[in-house]
Amino acid sequence: MSQQAETLDIERIRADFPILEREFDGTQLVYLDNAATTQTPEPVVETITEYYRKYNANVHRGIHQLSQEASIAYEEAHDRVAEFIGAAGREEIVFTKNTTESVNLVAYAWGLNELGPGDEVVLTEMEHHASLVTWQQIAKRTGATCKYIPITDEGRLDMEAAEELITDDTEMVSVVHVSNTLGTINPVSELAAIAHDHDSYVFVDAAQSVPNRPVDVAEIDADFLAFSGHKMAGPTGIGVLYGKEHILEGMEPYLYGGEMILKVTFEDSKWNELPWKYEAGTPVICQGIALAKACDYLDEIGMENIEQHESELAEYAYDRLTAEGDVEVYGPPGDDRGGLVAFNLESVHAHDLSSILNDSAVAIRAGDHCTQPLHDVLGTAASARASFYIYNTKAEIDKLIEAVDDARQLFA
């Protein structure tokens, strides 16, 4: 079935991921849950162990050698991540613990102070709970209103509706770059342009785009952009918030404590420079350094190559899944989507499917993928989702298809 040449040197890449060798009851793992979390290559794992074995120390203010080494590595990690997404410098890169916290940072530091009755936050029907719940709740607290750009039958944003929904009352447009359920690649530059025409900020949830395609914040003209380490070959416990320097400069702090201050008296405090103003307490030191290494690792493979590889796998999976006619795949056609397919088999509930696939060592996700309102729109409570990364192959998708066929038979 899967005879085409691969864009990536998969054998070489797979050698960096010992976890992919795992077997369950003699069957080798087929890991297709990459939109939830990607696996971590040896160079990143080794960066972590090297940190703890060689230069673990608290950063920023230590004069001793270990602290200097840790500080430099941690600060340079910001530069590296800045470079990875085309930001101007470390001032624009705040390390958080995940994408979710990055959204909350802006919602608290900016939204809670700036939003009020009459103000509108425009989201999309395909937002992840990370942005949807956050803006919904901050809007509730401030008296602002949330509006949702609807999706078309094909699972794309209805851009005409977007033009109407974004008005001079709009203060923030928060949009997912690549949908983690539909696989839709949204026209974020276009949305940013519309938002800016109305003097609104735009927040790009890039959790599913930065890991697998070239993303340039300047090209998008994003005011804010967020993503997570654990979805891009990095460790758990780190996320990134990109923000334009002048905007971050003007915002109030979010978390208070050590490192984020310049001067403290019993009466009041003064804030530190960017980005440290937003990194209170001992930061995610080892995780930041490891994330920078993940950027190196991905850049070595090449983000264009990764994008192409994922498109190929997505199209192949789409075509094979829909061949039988009893599978509904959500979102745009196979040749125009990010590297994932969420679907439902007519006769088998997604959870049952996932359990049955697990018996064949095929790991997919089943559920609402943190997009419950979108699932309501799609008219289903849950879906099964296979999502791909740099180490996946068409042969693995063949195994997925086989296992789906087993389920089909079992429930026939």
């Binding site: 009851d25 997604a350 959870h351 049952d352 049955i356 018996d359 064949s360 419950q372 389920a407 079992l410």
Partner: protein, 138 residues
């Protein structure tokens, strides 16, 4: 490669495909609905009591969701006929796992126990012990 044989023994598939006691009960003494929002499983249970008011005469259910949740509701509806409310309140997840007769992974136990939880909450509401509109499980 297994065919999901362990978790989907014939009995479970049979109850899923041909649910017993399925349907609304017009003259139910107790009825209550519950859902597992993360899975999308929903179950509504209807209980008819015997004249003594503490014994279950008949149970029916309607619902939607995965095979485990629906088969569990179907099997439970049979299991409960003739039992005292008290004994039902004392049931726990082990009873359900035993009833299903399969090994369940921790993530699927939530599906399996939904029906039991709905019935127990229904009884608690009937007894005036709690006041909720709907059971929601994690």
């Amino acid at each position: 490669m297994g065919l999901g044989a362990d978790m989907y023994r014939q009995q479970i598939l049979d109850h899923y495909k041909n649910p017993r006691n399925y349907g609304e009960l017009e003259d139910a003494d107790i009825e209550h609905v519950g859902e597992n929002p993360m899975c999308g499983d929903t179950i509504k249970m209807f209980v008819k009591l015997a004249d003594d008011g503490v014994t279950i005469e008949y149970v029916s259910f309607v619902g939607d969701g995965c095979a485990i949740s629906q088969a569990s509701a179907s099997m439970l509806s049979k299991e409960l006929q003739g039992r005292s409310l008290e004994s039902v309140e004392a049931m726990d997840r082990d009873d359900i796992v035993e009833m299903l007769g399969v090994e369940l992974s921790p993530m699927r136990i939530k599906c399996a126990v939904l029906a039991e939880k709905v019935v127990q909450d229904a009884i608690a509401i009937h007894n005036g012990e709690i006041e909720i509109d709907e059971t929601t499980t994690e």
